[in-house]
């Protein structure tokens, strides 16, 4: 009997899974058409490159979030973690004082090491403390945020060495073969992310863990290690995003990275990754991040809605995306 019940759903389910993978791309297409209709300046190369470049931070962070969420976890601390990492990186550069490549390299290493450590902390507390990831990362979100406010003494942390700023600038503003470096960075991160998630045993273990923790455990998957590693990957992705972010403004403030967690999780959900875990879509996530920035861009170019309401629109998008996922799920 069980077999037959499931059989009827088979064709429909196959269809809806395809829909799940395709829907972010369809949404992207619709948005591009809408943008072109609203403002002729929208469909210019410079505007589109600009949009994608601006989406790079969120996209990179969201690739990490794809791992955490596909593995059945959640990380709310990414925005604060980015601010803290940016702040510490700039302070390190300022303290080293040099204007050479070596100084920059040390600063970058410090940034990655710090963000990876933050991720490790999240992962260890979630795994060994057996606390809901929502609560753990809500706590660390507050901790990271107030640390950066404390380090900045409530003000701004700015890169002081002018030579260093000039040397570092191209990482955000430069381009190779006409493609802005941030876009290259996020494509590389996404490609590596996809390779790890889809082609390695670790990636398979992440999906198994997110699908059903018990099955993973009974199948001999080292669930503690896998879960902790997803948070470390998230941390490293935050670090990479910071490396691209810092040359943009050359400073970190208490509001750096505000609501990035909302945007990153939204990008992941739009991309078709299941918030309950078990399905991870790296390329969908990337498209999701671009969609978010496209919406903001269209709001700026059109005059329908005040651009100050971008956050509200993005908040609405994640809710709508969840409703769509739910209806797709029910349709099975």
């Amino acid at each position: 009997m069980t077999e037959s019940v499931l059989r009827t759903g088979a064709e429909k389910r196959r269809f809806s899974i395809d829909m799940r993978a395709l829907s972010p791309f369809i949404a992207l297409l619709v948005l591009v058409i809408a943008g072109a209709l609203i403002n002729p300046d929208f469909l210019t190369t410079s505007n589109l490159l600009n949009v994608v470049t601006r989406s790079a931070f969120i996209a990179i962070i969201a690739v990490g979030a794809t791992f955490v969420i596909a593995g059945g976890g959640l990380d709310l601390s990414v925005g604060s973690m980015a601010a803290l990492t940016a702040g510490v990186m700039i302070l390190t550069l300022n303290n080293l004082g040099g204007g050479d490549l070596g100084t920059l390299a040390i600063g970058m290493l410090v940034a990655i090491a710090l963000s990876a450590t933050c991720g490790l902390a999240n992962g260890l507390i979630v795994t060994f403390g057996r606390i809901e990831p929502f609560i753990v990362t809500l706590g660390t979100m507050g901790i990271f945020r107030s640390l950066v406010i404390w380090l900045a003494a409530g003000g701004t942390i700015t890169m002081r060495n002018f030579d260093l700023r000039e040397m570092y600038r191209p990482v955000y503003f430069g381009s190779i073969f006409g493609i802005p470096i941030p876009i290259i960075a996020f494509l590389v991160v996404a490609a590596i992310g996809a390779l790890i998630l889809y082609r390695t045993s670790f990636g398979r273990h992440v999906v198994a863990l997110g699908s059903n923790e018990d099955v993973a455990r009974y199948s001999g998957v080292p669930i503690w290690r896998v879960r902790t590693l997803t948070y470390i990957i998230q941390g490293i992705c935050v670090g990479i995003a910071v490396l691209v972010y810092v040359p943009r403004l050359g400073s970190a403030t208490p509001t750096t990275g505000l609501l990035w967690e909302l945007q990153a999780i939204t990008a992941v959900v739009i991309g078709g990754t299941a918030l309950r875990g078990g399905i991870g879509r790296v390329w969908g996530t990337v498209v999701g991040a671009v969609i978010l920035e496209l919406v903001a861009n269209i709001m700026v170019l059109s005059n329908f809605v005040s651009e100050f309401l971008v956050g509200a629109v993005q908040g609405a998008i994640i809710i709508i995306a969840m409703l769509v996922q739910r209806s797709v799920h029910r349709g099975r």
Partner: protein, 506 residues
Amino acid sequence: MDSVLRAESISKSFGPIEVLSGISLDLKPGEVHAVIGENGAGKSTLMRILSGHLPPTKGTLHLNGQPVTFSGPVDAESQGIVLVHQEILLAPDLTVAQNLFLGREIRRFGFVDDAAMRERTRAILQELGTKIDPDREVRRLSIADRQLVQIARALLVPHKVVAFDEPTAVLTPIEAESLFEIIRKLRAQGVAVLYISHRLNEVKAIADRVTVLRDGRHIATRDIEGLEPLEMARLMVGRDMSKLYPEKPETASDQALLSVRDMAVLGFVENASFTLHRGEILGFGGLIGAGRTELFESIVGLRPGHGTITLDGKQVHFRDAREAMAAGIVYLSEDRKGKGLLLQQNLRVNLSLAALEKFTRGSFIDGGAEEQALDKAIKDFDIRTRRRDLLAGQLSGGNQQKLLLAKMMLVEPRIVIIDEPTRGVDIGTKEQIYRFIASLAAEGRAVVVISSEMQELIGLCHRVVVMRNGRVAGEVAQADLSEDSIVYLATGVHEERAAEIAAGTA
């Protein structure tokens, strides 16, 4: 006497698959009507149609002679047809009285009237012949008491037909007897009782008439007079039962492979000791909840416990299933859907999960090797699937079990522990699984079969260890294997005695 509920050539299809075809059944007031059949025969589907959970595809239902269609279980309930579910569907943190009235609270001035509900609850429970405290939280009740609460909840509404779905699956013989007492009371009140079970002795003891289903078809409806359990079994299975089990391989040796001494799992197992030999099939019998699953889960590191485990003469301790697998021990959970397979993933992902390191080249998974392994598994284990890209959850219970076996065999274990190998599996697949288990032993591996089906233990195993209340109650050697010897150890009561109790003659 006129029937209270009558089903006329009911059919039910899910898509192209017909799971019930042309079933007719009539229920008279004041009779206990048993529906028996193998797993997958369509008992539950029929039950769900009669109680309004599913609409029939074809055929009609008649209530008191009038054609009737139910819009849902609530509608059926309001017309006096109630179903006592097999699973316990109660909120554990609420009290007995709160559970009884959940969703239909008695209110006064807009507030719940606890005093009135408590009184009603006490009255109903007394009627059922039990003294459960209405203010007790359900989590603190025994399984048997929970089931009584569930029955009380079902009987709260005015009822003409009460359907029980495998009610004794979790009960001891004594507890089952008090349930039968309740059923007899209902019958005396003129209520029609529909009783679904595959325990034939029980059916013999309680039923007035028996309807047999097989593969979704109506095989027979007989009066219980002159219908013996053996004949019921023949009707259910449709052939001689004795060929179900393969020859026991003559590879059982005296060489100890795994020996467990004084294993304890807090709250479940105390002082369990046994030895597993090379090439043997060792059965573990006992009632549900006797601690068999917990014992083996703790041996393979899935659950904390302590004791001395000796493998190949060396003392070992496994911290997780990974370490146990590395030592050549696999455990196949009884909870296939919850702990065995990733239902939302495809067959390939499921197959390779436990032995993924065998499918990696460098750092990457070799998809081609996985596909080959899947081809081989589908062939070797006769996994019947219409398409290779199906999700594991779309397979039938039997094919899921074969997939789980294939998955765990990729680990190349020396010791295979199978918990309830044929639960939810149709009879044809059962035979295949039994033959496969026998072949494992014939290859010199050691197999542990944990089962609540006594026939299975007797037909398949060289020796059977029986547990009762978390302790090893004893061991039955091959020559002495019989239902009676197992039941005696599992319950402390001889089967004739249990049957006497069940028949109400004791």
